[in-house]
Amino acid sequence: MKVVVDYFKDIFGGIKTLITGMKVTGKYFVSPGEIVTQQYPENRETLQMFDRFKGEVIMPHNDKNEHKCTGCGICEMNCPNGSIEIISKWEIVDEKKKKAIDKHIYHLSMCTFCGLCVKTCPSKALAFGQEFEHSVFDRSQLTKILNKPNSVVTKDLKE
């Protein structure tokens, strides 16, 4: 007898779970709520990429045209495919010679967006930008100099 009861219990239990599943999908069909599809070229003006999106490596500058890069070259060493080149220069600060960044060259065409440079930067000078429209007509345009012209290292690196 127990076998028969279990058999029918099985059937009704199965039907119940199936209906539960169909209720969920049915609810989404009738009222989808937020549509996740982005109609990209049309919504270009309003498109907001999320914070963690890795569009390209950038070096944030503050409003006094200062960045945090000391030119230590750790990002260059850590980059697995050599997309970063650091060209440093000697600066005289307080009558002392000091190493400083001249050009932070970033080859976007070689970058795999692994994030090792951003992760290992001791002074947190690098970050990921949300820009993703990178198509250009000439490959040389993908080689970028991240520090802006005439920019200097910010005084308060510790913050």
């Binding site: 099985d10 059937i11 199936l18 599943g21 169909m22 969920v24 999908t25 049915g26 989404y28 069909f29 989808p32 709520g33 937020e34 549509i35 996740v36 599809t37 109609q39």
Partner: protein, 361 residues
């Protein structure tokens, strides 16, 4: 009573053809050609629309938009896809059995052509009206599995063969359930002829007339019918996550398109059989006793009724596909042999008792 009677249209075509060509083989040939072309166009339009519908239903269930680019709301997307498939290269498979490989898609599509010919879309809008209509449809629709098996065998590919064998096991088992659930209704209807089955539902659809056993039979038919069309959650024959594409892995271009089309047409055929046998076919919704309501329902053309019901069933099958995960082969066979088949056998006896004692409505 009915606003649109296609018997007049077909008989006028027939009489005008007889007038100009005389009674004989020529008239019959022309009539067959007209019917064939009509079905070809119907197949193409229906297939394209069903693919579009599937993509949209799937998208809405998953909080997406689905095809939106080609034409308004992506309506022309499937036509673009079809043109692409037509122009694609037919890749020559060196180690395949050429004859069987090429003939397999045509067997599949022919089976669905044969089956759809017996479906009455409206009064008189039916090519074949056998007195064994249901038996005929059940017989020819199971021919499709031959094509699937041949495709899997002739491809000379492990994935294809596994997919085909699964499909064979599946259809051999589920054909039983389809047949028995239809038989339940035949017990109630007392006939196998489609036109008479539809006529028998003029006052009330069979699913309501036969109440409990008819509803059980309807649910079993839906499950078994979904399984028979190789659609999810019973799509083990294709199972793209395990077998790349199952039996049609090696097919490309228009041969693949034929398999693809046949899958969707088969879904529509199962939906049409469910509509005709359980939901009254092209009969409007009539409730005994409500004369005014019945009269209002008569104003909706029967063709529309048929397609409304059929597409509702199609939608339910799509809903199944995008809700349930795929069954394993042993689960599939357990479901059929341990659950559906015994229930079906009890159900058919129950229906016989109901009919004998006059308990149906």
């Amino acid at each position: 009573m009915f606003l649109y009677d296609f018997t007049q249209l077909t008989s006028s075509i027939h009489s005008s053809l007889v007038e100009s060509f005389g009674e004989g083989a020529l008239t019959t040939t022309i009539e067959l050609a007209i019917a064939g072309v009509a079905y070809l166009i119907f197949f193409a339009v229906l297939g394209l629309f069903l693919v579009y519908l599937e993509r949209k239903v799937c998208a809405f269930i998953q909080n997406r938009l689905g095809p939106m680019r080609v034409g308004p709301w992506g309506l022309l997307q499937t036509i673009a896809d079809f043109i692409k498939l037509l122009m694609k290269e037919l890749i020559y498979i060196k180690s395949a059995d050429q004859f069987l490989f090429n003939v397999a898609p045509f067997i599949v599509i022919t089976a669905s052509f044969l089956a759809i010919g017996a479906i009455p879309f409206d009064k008189g809008l039916q090519v074949l009206d056998f007195d064994i209509g249901i038996f005929y449809v059940a017989a020819v629709s199971s021919l499709g599995v031959l094509g699937v098996l041949l495709a899997g065998w002739a491809s000379n590919n492990k994935y294809s063969l596994i997919g085909a064998m699964r499909s064979g096991a599946q259809i051999v088992s589920y054909e039983l359930s389809v047949g028995l659930s239809l038989m339940t209704i035949i017990v109630l209807a007392g006939t196998m002829q489609f036109s008479e089955i539809v006529a028998g539902q003029a006052d009330l659809w069979f699913i309501f007339k036969g109440h409990i056993p008819a509803m059980i039979a309807f649910v079993i038919f839906l499950i078994a019918g979904t399984a028979e069309t190789n659609r999810g959650p019973f799509d083990l024959a294709e199972a793209e996550s395990e077998l790349t594409a199952g039996f049609h892995t090696e097919y490309s271009g228009i041969k693949f398109a034929l398999f693809f089309l046949a899958e969707y047409i088969n879904m529509f055929i199962v939906a049409s059989i469910a509509t005709t046998v359980f939901l009254g076919g092209w009969m409007p919704l009539h409730i005994p006793g409500l004369e005014g309501f019945n009269h209002v329902m008569d104003f909706i053309p029967p063709v529309l009724w048929f397609f409304m019901k059929a597409f509702t069933v199609v939608f339910i099958m799509m809903w199944f596909k995008w809700t349930f995960p795929r069954l394993r082969i042993d689960q599939l066979l357990t479901l059929e042999w341990k659950y559906l088949l015994p229930l079906n056998l009890i159900n058919i006896v129950l229906m016989a008792v109901v009919v004998l004692l006059g308990w149906h409505l």
